[in-house]
Symmetry: C2
Subunit: 225 residues, 2 copies
Protein backbone atom coordinates (compact mmCIF):
# COMPACT_ATOMS: atom_id res chain seq x y z
CA UNK A 1 0.00 0.00 0.00
CA UNK A 2 2.37 2.71 1.21
CA UNK A 3 5.49 1.53 -0.52
CA UNK A 4 5.76 3.20 -3.92
CA UNK A 5 3.96 6.48 -3.39
CA UNK A 6 5.58 8.64 -0.73
CA UNK A 7 3.62 8.84 2.49
CA UNK A 8 2.05 12.16 3.31
CA UNK A 9 4.62 12.72 6.04
CA UNK A 10 7.98 12.30 4.41
CA UNK A 11 10.88 12.37 6.82
CA UNK A 12 12.07 15.94 7.26
CA UNK A 13 14.44 17.70 9.58
CA UNK A 14 12.84 19.77 12.30
CA UNK A 15 14.03 22.97 10.67
CA UNK A 16 12.38 21.94 7.41
CA UNK A 17 9.22 20.94 9.16
CA UNK A 18 9.05 24.23 11.04
CA UNK A 19 9.67 26.23 7.86
CA UNK A 20 7.04 24.29 5.95
CA UNK A 21 4.39 24.54 8.61
CA UNK A 22 5.10 28.22 9.09
CA UNK A 23 4.70 28.85 5.39
CA UNK A 24 1.47 26.89 5.26
CA UNK A 25 0.08 28.86 8.17
CA UNK A 26 1.09 32.16 6.60
CA UNK A 27 -0.41 31.16 3.25
CA UNK A 28 -3.68 30.12 4.83
CA UNK A 29 -3.85 33.23 6.98
CA UNK A 30 -3.00 35.44 4.01
CA UNK A 31 -5.82 33.96 2.00
CA UNK A 32 -8.37 34.18 4.78
CA UNK A 33 -7.38 37.65 5.96
CA UNK A 34 -7.55 38.88 2.36
CA UNK A 35 -11.15 37.71 2.17
CA UNK A 36 -12.47 38.64 5.60
CA UNK A 37 -10.02 40.93 7.34
CA UNK A 38 -8.37 40.50 10.72
CA UNK A 39 -11.58 40.21 12.69
CA UNK A 40 -13.38 38.06 10.15
CA UNK A 41 -10.97 35.19 10.60
CA UNK A 42 -10.49 32.98 13.64
CA UNK A 43 -7.34 31.10 14.49
CA UNK A 44 -9.42 28.00 14.18
CA UNK A 45 -10.24 28.90 10.57
CA UNK A 46 -6.56 29.19 9.79
CA UNK A 47 -5.69 25.95 11.57
CA UNK A 48 -8.47 24.07 9.80
CA UNK A 49 -7.30 25.30 6.44
CA UNK A 50 -3.81 24.01 7.19
CA UNK A 51 -5.13 20.81 8.74
CA UNK A 52 -3.55 21.18 12.16
CA UNK A 53 -4.85 21.89 15.63
CA UNK A 54 -5.84 25.41 16.60
CA UNK A 55 -3.39 25.60 19.45
CA UNK A 56 -0.50 25.19 17.07
CA UNK A 57 -1.15 28.77 16.03
CA UNK A 58 -0.07 29.83 19.49
CA UNK A 59 3.03 27.73 19.27
CA UNK A 60 4.22 29.68 16.26
CA UNK A 61 2.68 33.07 16.96
CA UNK A 62 1.94 35.00 20.11
CA UNK A 63 -1.57 35.89 19.08
CA UNK A 64 -3.77 36.62 16.11
CA UNK A 65 -2.46 40.12 15.59
CA UNK A 66 1.12 39.01 15.43
CA UNK A 67 0.12 36.43 12.83
CA UNK A 68 -1.48 39.24 10.87
CA UNK A 69 1.68 41.29 11.08
CA UNK A 70 3.79 38.34 10.02
CA UNK A 71 1.63 37.91 6.93
CA UNK A 72 2.01 41.58 6.15
CA UNK A 73 5.75 41.61 6.70
CA UNK A 74 6.60 38.47 4.74
CA UNK A 75 6.06 40.02 1.32
CA UNK A 76 6.09 43.73 2.17
CA UNK A 77 9.85 43.68 2.35
CA UNK A 78 10.12 42.05 -1.04
CA UNK A 79 7.88 44.44 -2.97
CA UNK A 80 9.17 47.46 -1.12
CA UNK A 81 12.77 46.45 -1.80
CA UNK A 82 12.23 45.70 -5.47
CA UNK A 83 10.48 48.95 -6.08
CA UNK A 84 13.16 50.89 -4.29
CA UNK A 85 15.79 49.31 -6.54
CA UNK A 86 13.73 50.07 -9.63
CA UNK A 87 13.31 53.69 -8.59
CA UNK A 88 17.01 54.10 -7.84
CA UNK A 89 17.93 52.53 -11.15
CA UNK A 90 15.56 54.86 -12.95
CA UNK A 91 16.80 57.91 -11.06
CA UNK A 92 20.39 57.06 -11.96
CA UNK A 93 19.51 56.55 -15.63
CA UNK A 94 17.44 59.70 -15.93
CA UNK A 95 19.90 61.93 -14.11
CA UNK A 96 18.63 65.48 -13.77
CA UNK A 97 15.72 65.01 -16.13
CA UNK A 98 13.44 62.23 -14.98
CA UNK A 99 9.87 62.14 -16.25
CA UNK A 100 6.73 61.57 -14.26
CA UNK A 101 5.77 58.64 -16.42
CA UNK A 102 9.20 57.07 -16.10
CA UNK A 103 9.09 57.23 -12.33
CA UNK A 104 5.56 55.85 -12.24
CA UNK A 105 6.51 52.96 -14.51
CA UNK A 106 9.31 52.02 -12.14
CA UNK A 107 7.03 52.32 -9.12
CA UNK A 108 3.89 50.69 -10.47
CA UNK A 109 5.07 48.16 -13.02
CA UNK A 110 7.61 46.63 -10.66
CA UNK A 111 4.85 46.02 -8.16
CA UNK A 112 2.35 44.70 -10.69
CA UNK A 113 4.96 42.35 -12.14
CA UNK A 114 5.39 40.71 -8.77
CA UNK A 115 1.72 39.77 -8.66
CA UNK A 116 1.61 38.80 -12.32
CA UNK A 117 4.57 36.49 -11.91
CA UNK A 118 4.00 35.40 -8.33
CA UNK A 119 0.90 33.32 -8.85
CA UNK A 120 -1.89 32.73 -6.36
CA UNK A 121 0.04 33.48 -3.15
CA UNK A 122 1.09 36.91 -4.37
CA UNK A 123 -2.37 37.60 -5.67
CA UNK A 124 -3.71 36.79 -2.22
CA UNK A 125 -1.16 39.10 -0.71
CA UNK A 126 -2.28 41.85 -3.07
CA UNK A 127 -5.84 41.63 -1.80
CA UNK A 128 -4.64 41.26 1.78
CA UNK A 129 -2.53 44.40 1.49
CA UNK A 130 -5.31 46.41 -0.12
CA UNK A 131 -7.71 45.55 2.65
CA UNK A 132 -5.06 46.18 5.29
CA UNK A 133 -4.25 49.57 3.78
CA UNK A 134 -7.58 51.09 4.72
CA UNK A 135 -7.79 49.49 8.11
CA UNK A 136 -6.66 50.73 11.49
CA UNK A 137 -4.39 47.74 12.08
CA UNK A 138 -2.88 48.05 8.63
CA UNK A 139 -2.20 51.78 8.67
CA UNK A 140 0.76 51.48 11.04
CA UNK A 141 2.24 48.67 8.98
CA UNK A 142 1.83 50.58 5.72
CA UNK A 143 3.77 53.49 7.17
CA UNK A 144 6.49 51.27 8.53
CA UNK A 145 7.09 49.24 5.40
CA UNK A 146 6.24 51.57 2.55
CA UNK A 147 7.13 55.11 3.55
CA UNK A 148 10.70 54.92 2.21
CA UNK A 149 9.68 53.77 -1.31
CA UNK A 150 6.89 56.28 -1.53
CA UNK A 151 9.10 59.13 -0.44
CA UNK A 152 11.67 58.04 -3.00
CA UNK A 153 9.00 58.17 -5.69
CA UNK A 154 7.90 61.60 -4.51
CA UNK A 155 11.46 62.88 -4.60
CA UNK A 156 11.82 61.87 -8.25
CA UNK A 157 8.44 63.38 -9.09
CA UNK A 158 9.60 66.64 -7.55
CA UNK A 159 12.62 66.63 -9.85
CA UNK A 160 10.37 65.96 -12.81
CA UNK A 161 7.97 68.73 -11.81
CA UNK A 162 10.18 71.40 -10.26
CA UNK A 163 7.59 74.17 -10.50
CA UNK A 164 4.71 72.21 -9.09
CA UNK A 165 3.77 72.77 -5.45
CA UNK A 166 4.70 69.81 -3.26
CA UNK A 167 1.09 69.60 -2.15
CA UNK A 168 -0.05 68.74 -5.66
CA UNK A 169 2.50 65.99 -5.91
CA UNK A 170 1.29 64.42 -2.70
CA UNK A 171 -2.32 64.64 -3.80
CA UNK A 172 -1.32 63.03 -7.07
CA UNK A 173 0.27 60.21 -5.13
CA UNK A 174 -2.89 59.92 -3.08
CA UNK A 175 -4.82 59.28 -6.29
CA UNK A 176 -2.24 56.81 -7.56
CA UNK A 177 -2.20 54.73 -4.43
CA UNK A 178 -5.98 54.60 -4.31
CA UNK A 179 -6.14 53.24 -7.82
CA UNK A 180 -3.40 50.76 -7.04
CA UNK A 181 -5.13 49.51 -3.91
CA UNK A 182 -8.40 49.16 -5.80
CA UNK A 183 -6.54 47.11 -8.38
CA UNK A 184 -4.93 44.88 -5.79
CA UNK A 185 -8.23 44.32 -4.02
CA UNK A 186 -9.67 42.56 -7.08
CA UNK A 187 -13.23 42.83 -5.91
CA UNK A 188 -14.55 41.82 -9.31
CA UNK A 189 -16.74 44.88 -9.47
CA UNK A 190 -15.19 46.03 -12.75
CA UNK A 191 -16.01 42.65 -14.29
CA UNK A 192 -19.65 43.02 -13.46
CA UNK A 193 -19.86 46.71 -14.38
CA UNK A 194 -18.21 46.19 -17.73
CA UNK A 195 -20.29 43.13 -18.51
CA UNK A 196 -17.18 40.97 -18.63
CA UNK A 197 -15.17 43.30 -20.85
CA UNK A 198 -12.59 43.88 -18.14
CA UNK A 199 -11.28 41.45 -15.56
CA UNK A 200 -10.09 42.53 -12.15
CA UNK A 201 -7.35 39.90 -12.30
CA UNK A 202 -5.98 41.23 -15.57
CA UNK A 203 -3.04 43.08 -14.08
CA UNK A 204 -1.35 43.09 -17.48
CA UNK A 205 -4.12 45.29 -18.88
CA UNK A 206 -3.77 47.59 -15.90
CA UNK A 207 0.00 47.75 -16.20
CA UNK A 208 -0.43 48.82 -19.84
CA UNK A 209 -2.54 51.79 -18.81
CA UNK A 210 -1.90 52.89 -15.29
CA UNK A 211 1.41 54.77 -15.42
CA UNK A 212 0.32 56.63 -18.55
CA UNK A 213 -3.04 57.54 -17.06
CA UNK A 214 -1.55 58.78 -13.82
CA UNK A 215 1.32 60.65 -15.44
CA UNK A 216 -1.18 62.65 -17.48
CA UNK A 217 -3.03 63.42 -14.28
CA UNK A 218 0.09 64.82 -12.65
CA UNK A 219 0.81 66.96 -15.72
CA UNK A 220 -2.70 68.36 -15.64
CA UNK A 221 -2.26 69.35 -12.00
CA UNK A 222 1.10 70.89 -12.75
CA UNK A 223 -0.09 72.98 -15.67
CA UNK A 224 -3.19 74.49 -14.21
CA UNK A 225 -2.38 75.10 -10.57
Amino acid sequence: MSDGSPAKRVRRTKAEQRAETLEQILDAAEYLFSKHGLHGVTLRDVAQRVGVHTTLMHYYFDDKKSLFEAVFARRAGVTSGRRMEALERYAAEAGDHPTVEGALHAFLDTDLDLYIQGGAPWMNYAAFGALASITAEGAVLMDRYFDPVVLKLVSILKLALPDTPEEDIFWGYHFVTGSLMNTLARTGRIDRLSGGLCHADDFAAIKQRMARFMAAGFMALAHKT
Copy 2:
Protein backbone atom coordinates in the same frame (compact mmCIF):
# COMPACT_ATOMS: atom_id res chain seq x y z
CA MET B 1 -33.25 70.12 40.69
CA SER B 2 -35.04 68.82 37.65
CA ASP B 3 -37.45 71.67 37.21
CA GLY B 4 -35.94 74.23 34.83
CA SER B 5 -33.69 72.14 32.64
CA PRO B 6 -35.56 69.58 30.54
CA ALA B 7 -35.12 66.01 31.71
CA LYS B 8 -33.06 63.72 29.51
CA ARG B 9 -36.20 61.90 28.44
CA VAL B 10 -38.53 64.50 27.05
CA ARG B 11 -42.00 63.22 26.26
CA ARG B 12 -42.10 61.93 22.70
CA THR B 13 -44.54 60.00 20.63
CA LYS B 14 -43.66 56.40 20.02
CA ALA B 15 -43.03 57.10 16.36
CA GLU B 16 -40.59 59.86 17.30
CA GLN B 17 -38.92 57.67 19.84
CA ARG B 18 -38.53 54.84 17.36
CA ALA B 19 -37.12 57.16 14.72
CA GLU B 20 -34.68 58.74 17.16
CA THR B 21 -33.42 55.47 18.55
CA LEU B 22 -33.10 54.02 15.09
CA GLU B 23 -31.04 56.96 13.96
CA GLN B 24 -28.82 56.76 17.02
CA ILE B 25 -28.22 53.08 16.40
CA LEU B 26 -27.42 53.66 12.76
CA ASP B 27 -25.07 56.53 13.59
CA ALA B 28 -23.23 54.48 16.19
CA ALA B 29 -23.00 51.47 13.92
CA GLU B 30 -21.85 53.61 11.02
CA TYR B 31 -19.06 55.06 13.10
CA LEU B 32 -17.93 51.73 14.50
CA PHE B 33 -18.20 49.78 11.25
CA SER B 34 -16.22 52.51 9.51
CA LYS B 35 -13.39 52.00 11.99
CA HIS B 36 -13.37 48.23 12.39
CA GLY B 37 -15.48 46.63 9.70
CA LEU B 38 -18.43 44.28 10.07
CA HIS B 39 -16.57 41.65 12.05
CA GLY B 40 -14.63 44.10 14.18
CA VAL B 41 -17.78 45.43 15.82
CA THR B 42 -20.12 43.63 18.20
CA LEU B 43 -23.73 44.46 18.75
CA ARG B 44 -22.77 45.17 22.31
CA ASP B 45 -20.30 47.82 21.11
CA VAL B 46 -23.06 49.53 19.18
CA ALA B 47 -25.52 49.32 22.06
CA GLN B 48 -22.99 50.68 24.52
CA ARG B 49 -22.26 53.62 22.27
CA VAL B 50 -25.95 54.42 22.11
CA GLY B 51 -26.43 53.76 25.81
CA VAL B 52 -29.08 51.10 25.53
CA HIS B 53 -29.18 47.39 26.13
CA THR B 54 -27.64 44.99 23.62
CA THR B 55 -30.84 43.13 22.99
CA LEU B 56 -32.49 46.25 21.69
CA MET B 57 -30.39 45.76 18.57
CA HIS B 58 -32.42 42.65 17.87
CA TYR B 59 -35.64 44.47 18.43
CA TYR B 60 -34.82 46.86 15.59
CA PHE B 61 -32.76 44.60 13.35
CA ASP B 62 -32.81 40.93 12.59
CA ASP B 63 -29.11 40.47 13.03
CA LYS B 64 -25.77 42.20 12.70
CA LYS B 65 -25.60 41.88 8.95
CA SER B 66 -28.97 43.48 8.43
CA LEU B 67 -27.84 46.37 10.62
CA PHE B 68 -24.79 46.68 8.38
CA GLU B 69 -26.96 46.75 5.29
CA ALA B 70 -29.26 49.33 6.84
CA VAL B 71 -26.26 51.56 7.50
CA PHE B 72 -25.15 51.14 3.92
CA ALA B 73 -28.57 51.78 2.47
CA ARG B 74 -29.46 54.84 4.53
CA ARG B 75 -27.13 57.20 2.69
CA ALA B 76 -26.37 55.20 -0.45
CA GLY B 77 -29.69 56.19 -1.92
CA VAL B 78 -29.02 59.86 -1.25
CA THR B 79 -25.59 60.07 -2.84
CA SER B 80 -26.54 57.80 -5.68
CA GLY B 81 -29.65 59.86 -6.42
CA ARG B 82 -27.92 63.21 -6.24
CA ARG B 83 -25.18 62.11 -8.54
CA MET B 84 -27.63 60.68 -11.00
CA GLU B 85 -29.44 64.02 -11.14
CA ALA B 86 -26.18 65.89 -11.58
CA LEU B 87 -25.14 63.61 -14.43
CA GLU B 88 -28.50 63.92 -16.14
CA ARG B 89 -28.41 67.67 -15.77
CA TYR B 90 -24.93 67.77 -17.25
CA ALA B 91 -25.84 65.44 -20.10
CA ALA B 92 -28.82 67.62 -20.98
CA GLU B 93 -26.71 70.78 -20.88
CA ALA B 94 -23.86 69.38 -22.91
CA GLY B 95 -26.02 67.72 -25.52
CA ASP B 96 -23.98 65.83 -28.09
CA HIS B 97 -20.68 67.22 -26.94
CA PRO B 98 -20.03 66.44 -23.33
CA THR B 99 -16.47 66.52 -22.03
CA VAL B 100 -14.76 63.97 -19.85
CA GLU B 101 -13.94 66.59 -17.27
CA GLY B 102 -17.49 67.89 -17.21
CA ALA B 103 -18.89 64.43 -16.57
CA LEU B 104 -16.33 63.76 -13.88
CA HIS B 105 -17.09 67.04 -12.14
CA ALA B 106 -20.75 66.10 -11.99
CA PHE B 107 -19.94 62.62 -10.72
CA LEU B 108 -17.18 63.42 -8.24
CA ASP B 109 -17.92 66.91 -6.99
CA THR B 110 -21.53 66.09 -6.21
CA ASP B 111 -20.36 63.24 -4.03
CA LEU B 112 -17.58 65.18 -2.33
CA ASP B 113 -19.95 68.05 -1.61
CA LEU B 114 -22.20 65.73 0.34
CA TYR B 115 -19.38 64.85 2.71
CA ILE B 116 -18.08 68.41 2.89
CA GLN B 117 -21.50 69.73 3.80
CA GLY B 118 -22.82 66.75 5.73
CA GLY B 119 -20.55 66.98 8.76
CA ALA B 120 -19.37 64.10 10.90
CA PRO B 121 -22.11 61.58 10.09
CA TRP B 122 -21.48 61.82 6.37
CA MET B 123 -17.75 61.68 6.92
CA ASN B 124 -18.26 58.47 8.88
CA TYR B 125 -20.36 57.12 6.08
CA ALA B 126 -17.60 57.96 3.62
CA ALA B 127 -15.13 55.81 5.53
CA PHE B 128 -17.74 53.12 6.08
CA GLY B 129 -18.47 52.94 2.37
CA ALA B 130 -14.81 52.86 1.40
CA LEU B 131 -14.16 49.94 3.70
CA ALA B 132 -17.32 48.19 2.58
CA SER B 133 -16.36 48.64 -1.07
CA ILE B 134 -13.42 46.27 -0.88
CA THR B 135 -15.11 43.72 1.32
CA ALA B 136 -17.10 40.64 0.43
CA GLU B 137 -20.19 41.84 2.28
CA GLY B 138 -19.98 45.25 0.69
CA ALA B 139 -19.46 44.16 -2.91
CA VAL B 140 -23.05 43.06 -3.39
CA LEU B 141 -24.35 46.29 -1.90
CA MET B 142 -22.08 48.42 -4.08
CA ASP B 143 -23.45 46.73 -7.17
CA ARG B 144 -27.02 47.08 -6.05
CA TYR B 145 -26.87 50.76 -5.12
CA PHE B 146 -24.27 52.25 -7.41
CA ASP B 147 -24.37 50.44 -10.73
CA PRO B 148 -26.94 52.77 -12.29
CA VAL B 149 -24.97 55.98 -11.54
CA VAL B 150 -21.71 54.49 -12.68
CA LEU B 151 -23.21 53.21 -15.91
CA LYS B 152 -24.71 56.65 -16.50
CA LEU B 153 -21.27 58.19 -16.05
CA VAL B 154 -19.76 55.65 -18.41
CA SER B 155 -22.39 56.37 -21.03
CA ILE B 156 -21.50 60.07 -20.99
CA LEU B 157 -17.80 59.28 -21.14
CA LYS B 158 -18.45 57.16 -24.20
CA LEU B 159 -20.11 60.12 -25.88
CA ALA B 160 -17.16 62.31 -24.96
CA LEU B 161 -14.66 59.74 -26.23
CA PRO B 162 -16.38 58.14 -29.22
CA ASP B 163 -13.20 56.63 -30.66
CA THR B 164 -11.91 55.14 -27.43
CA PRO B 165 -12.41 51.43 -26.85
CA GLU B 166 -15.00 50.77 -24.14
CA GLU B 167 -12.42 48.75 -22.26
CA ASP B 168 -10.26 51.82 -21.71
CA ILE B 169 -13.19 53.76 -20.37
CA PHE B 170 -13.95 51.06 -17.83
CA TRP B 171 -10.32 50.88 -16.77
CA GLY B 172 -10.34 54.62 -16.39
CA TYR B 173 -13.36 54.33 -14.16
CA HIS B 174 -11.57 51.64 -12.20
CA PHE B 175 -8.78 54.14 -11.47
CA VAL B 176 -11.24 56.89 -10.59
CA THR B 177 -13.19 54.82 -8.12
CA GLY B 178 -10.02 53.60 -6.44
CA SER B 179 -8.87 57.15 -5.85
CA LEU B 180 -12.30 58.13 -4.63
CA MET B 181 -12.47 55.24 -2.18
CA ASN B 182 -9.01 56.04 -0.90
CA THR B 183 -10.18 59.59 -0.36
CA LEU B 184 -13.31 58.54 1.47
CA ALA B 185 -11.34 56.16 3.69
CA ARG B 186 -9.38 59.04 5.24
CA THR B 187 -6.72 56.80 6.70
CA GLY B 188 -4.51 59.77 7.48
CA ARG B 189 -1.62 58.21 5.61
CA ILE B 190 -1.27 61.22 3.30
CA ASP B 191 -0.96 63.48 6.34
CA ARG B 192 1.96 61.50 7.66
CA LEU B 193 3.63 61.02 4.28
CA SER B 194 3.42 64.69 3.40
CA GLY B 195 4.59 65.79 6.82
CA GLY B 196 1.32 67.58 7.45
CA LEU B 197 1.22 69.36 4.11
CA CYS B 198 -1.94 67.53 3.07
CA HIS B 199 -4.86 66.47 5.20
CA ALA B 200 -6.96 63.42 4.44
CA ASP B 201 -10.05 65.30 5.62
CA ASP B 202 -9.48 68.15 3.22
CA PHE B 203 -12.05 67.11 0.66
CA ALA B 204 -12.12 70.65 -0.71
CA ALA B 205 -8.49 70.30 -1.80
CA ILE B 206 -9.31 66.97 -3.41
CA LYS B 207 -12.36 68.34 -5.16
CA GLN B 208 -10.20 71.08 -6.64
CA ARG B 209 -7.90 68.52 -8.23
CA MET B 210 -9.57 65.22 -8.77
CA ALA B 211 -11.78 65.68 -11.83
CA ARG B 212 -9.00 67.51 -13.66
CA PHE B 213 -6.44 64.86 -12.79
CA MET B 214 -8.67 62.00 -13.86
CA ALA B 215 -9.90 63.68 -17.03
CA ALA B 216 -6.31 64.07 -18.19
CA GLY B 217 -5.79 60.39 -17.48
CA PHE B 218 -8.72 59.42 -19.68
CA MET B 219 -7.44 61.64 -22.48
CA ALA B 220 -4.02 60.02 -22.28
CA LEU B 221 -5.59 56.58 -22.61
CA ALA B 222 -7.71 57.76 -25.53
CA HIS B 223 -4.85 59.28 -27.45
CA LYS B 224 -2.32 56.54 -27.24
CA THR B 225 -4.31 53.32 -27.37
